[in-house]
Amino acid sequence: MNLALTILVEGLGYASYLFIVSLGLTIIFGVLKILNVAHGAFYAWGAYFCAFLIGEFSAMGVSDLGTMIAIPIAALVVGIVLGSAIERTIIRNLYGRDEVLIVLATFGLFLVLEDVILLLFGVDPYFAFQPTYAMPGVQIGGIYQDGYKLSMIALSLVVGIISWVVLNRTHWGKLVAAIIFDSDLAVAMGINVRRVFYVVFVAGAVLGALGGAYIAPTISVAPGFGVEVIVLSFAVVVIGGMGSIAGAAIGALMVGMLRAYAVLQWPEIELFVVYAVMAAVLIFRPEGLFAPAKARKI
């Protein structure tokens, strides 16, 4: 029972940040049809910038809880500045090119952004544990749980709900839906597709950076840690169905739970199991487990 509970909480914690990162990836894919490898760079940038800010704030005498303000700042600054810069210079010029070529271009972008981090922030790892001290631990079922992890789960719920509402209940969401269905027709209807693309890309970048910024206080932020997240979020998105919010949630939950189970019970299969599930989903249900039904177009 205790074990199941531990797996559940560990898995949820892990799933929550994967969900935030993958959500960014999946909305960019859903709308722009771009599989963005550079998404891992947004994540890494968010983490670095957040850890850096927390260090600065802490040095300025801000309380442990107060340093948490660094998380939204980092996510927004990185997402908006970096996201805009990349959309304007690179992505914008790739619309309509071959899908796979675009993936490769974002791979090049990822390599560039990874190294710019090293040039800006140096090669030494950053530690910014202050926010985790601020969160009180909670006892659940007799097991002491880290408060920060629980707050991450709450955040992912909020992010998920907000995204769902924006996409399903607002004017903007309708524009996006129209573009996903047929971007040429959307242009004919007078929708400024380029602008929607831009906003969606930046929103996705903010989400990627948010995932990184929120995870930063729990790890040592060191070079090269964006590499693993990319394939993991690819796996999440593929498992759930590319371009679907619910899919990203289900995918993140599956990957999180599987991994938590593997880490605690069967460490040998930790990585293997995630990609085995990804392969299995692609083989038996390539559109993903929870892909939205699509009207067939000719």
Binding site: L35, V37, I90, N93, L94, G96, R97, D98, E99, V100, L101, V103, L104, A105, F107, G108, L109, F110, L111, V112, L113, E114, D115, V116, L118, L119, V123, V227, I230, V231, F234, A235, V238, P267, E268, I269, E270, L271, F272, V273, V274, Y275, A276, M278, A279, L282, I283, P286
Partner: protein, 336 residues
Amino acid sequence: MTHSMDRTLVGLTVGFAVVALLGVFVLPDWLLSQTLIAFSRALAVVGLLVLWRTGLVSFGHALYFGLGAYTVAMLGRELGITEVLITLPAAAVFSALVGFGLGFIIRKYREIFFAMLNLAFSMVLFGILVKTESLGSTDGFSVEQPTIFGLGTDDASVKLIALFLGVCAVGWLVAVLVHRYLGSVLGSLTTAVRDNEIRVEYLGYSVAEAIHGKYVMSAALTGLGGGFMALALGQVDPESMVNWTVSGELVFITILSGPGSVAAPFIGSLIFELLRTYAYELVPYAWQLIVGATLLLIIFFLPGGVWSLISRLTGRRDAGRPESSRPESSRGEANP
């Protein structure tokens, strides 16, 4: 057609002979070992080129690269077989067999799904290797000293020259065979499948089988390249053989080389290797930046790859033209 084909064959033969002679008599050891590593990778890239001509790009060929490398390394470690005439063919055959098996599933997929499924398979192998203590987990293990006809040497520079000549010979053979293949009816199906699958079916060919065949071929070549890489580095480990970044590098070199010719991967790999080395010497912490920026520049300004430059310079416009057309929508063509 026969005329231009002969020209390519002559060019390949002369080119490889010149490189081999230069390597033995002129080039310093460091450049020799760079060329060895580059040509090992080039073998894999030739495999990817065959797929790319079909319009398919795999983000998981590190699977076969790693299989080839680990086959060579494990034959030496577990069975004591170090004879390269056995280990290298074994690497190719084993990779081909795995490719044949997975091919039944993979041949149904196109575009991003093809890329993703390959990625998933390669990451499965990565996940297994990283966690297998007996194979050294993330550290990997070193490859036994290779022998040929039972002869081995402890002299590092003799070994280097021998491996270098080996990779030149195999590279030449592979390039010639793949070139012949692409000129054959079966090979011409590559571009045909890319352009219009339904039409190919109407002509009486099975698209699935055509893709399957090319997939197995690319798996074998990539395995062979991985085998050579294991011998060249003297070490195998998951990070530098099987991780997704390796697949990314291979695709990168394919784009860098361009689909124009089977010679292109060898030139492209060499450029990549030198670029990486010089970038590393110049700015140790920013070599990826230079490599990544190069990739972006090529995608934007040289979509036909290095080969399109070469064929433009040598004035082989009409010969290179139909081959250098790219597997992408004609929208946004950068150079006419």
